[in-house]
């Protein structure tokens, strides 16, 4: 009998089980459906209606509902996040809504993984390797962007004043995790 494939976190059990920390907590986020959507603003508008979350036309902004999010990554590029079991539904809804119009929808659930850093000194830890100004006046809640952390490219999204979602290519995830742990130890 064929074995059922099992999805394992790119971070592994050792990294995903960090205890609480006064400065900044790290946790691996559960697996999710992820899509890269490429298209012009009119197609993005239609796709947003089908997805259930409007795609931001303002640069570097994310919109979200309870369990879905659309992150602006470029003027014709968005990252869509949804629960793991919603992948087929998302795909079907966008294909139906957009028909023959020009766009690209690529499933990237297996390429990226996500972690979350939260706490009063989360920005200090991130700034050990990220050159952006993370003060809330320059990087408010709801802002998202590709950037770099140390030697890895990440997508950084501020979901609350002291909470950041980090989306990263799965092979870079252990590096990003260890980098943040190390930076936190050196605060």
């Amino acid at each position: 009998m064929a074995e059922q494939p099992v999805r394992q976190s790119a971070l592994g059990a050792a990294r995903a089980t960090q205890g609480p920390h006064a400065a900044a907590c790290l946790r691996a986020l559960p697996a999710a459906s992820r899509f890269s959507f490429r298209g012009s603003p009119p197609e993005a508008e239609t796709a947003g209606v089908a997805f259930g979350v409007p795609f931001s036309l303002q640069s570097c902004r994310a919109h979200q509902t309870e369990d879905r999010a659309a992150l602006w990554l470029g003027p014709d590029e968005w990252l869509l996040l949804a629960p793991e079991d919603a992948a087929r539904a998302v795909q079907a809804a966008l294909i139906r809504a957009l028909g023959e119009r020009p766009y690209a929808l690529i499933g990237i659930a297996h390429r990226n993984t996500a972690l979350e850093i939260s706490g009063p000194r989360a920005t200090m830890v991130l700034n050990a390797g990220c050159p952006l100004d993370l003060h809330t006046s320059r990087f408010p809640v709801g802002m998202c962007t590709r950037t770099i952390l140390g030697k890895a490219e990440i997508i950084l999204w501020r979901t609350a004043s002291e909470v950041f979602h980090i989306d990263v290519w799965r092979t870079f995830a252990p590096y990003v995790w260890d980098f943040l742990i190390e930076a936190r130890a050196r605060l």
């Binding site: 570097c60 990554l73 470029g74 050159p131 952006l132 962007t145 590709r146």
Partner: protein, 89 residues
């Protein structure tokens, strides 16, 4: 750190960018009608000014887009940037 003004994302740290050479260089419409010298000039010869320089940049670890910028090669000061297809401000 040098801040580079991305026309899509605003001022961002230089680590997120890659340089992409002098701006406003059009590929000849009929390469076969060019002499070797003219083709070589298109490929390799650049103005290399001391002062303001129109050049292309890519916000590779950001929005991913190419854009144009005007930079002083002496002071490294960026004057302004603009989107491809648009005219400089």
């Amino acid at each position: 750190m040098l801040l580079i003004p991305c026309p899509y994302c605003g001022p961002r740290p230089e680590l997120e960018f890659t340089y992409a050479g002098e701006a406003n260089i059009s590929r000849p419409a009929e390469p076969e009608s060019l002499s070797d010298e003219q083709w070589a000039a298109y490929l390799y010869q650049r103005t290399n000014p001391r002062g303001m320089h129109a050049e292309r940049w890519r916000h590779v670890h950001g929005c991913g887009r190419y854009f144009n910028a005007s930079r002083d090669t002496l002071s490294d000061q960026f004057q302004f940037s603009w989107k491809p297809g648009e005219s400089p401000p």
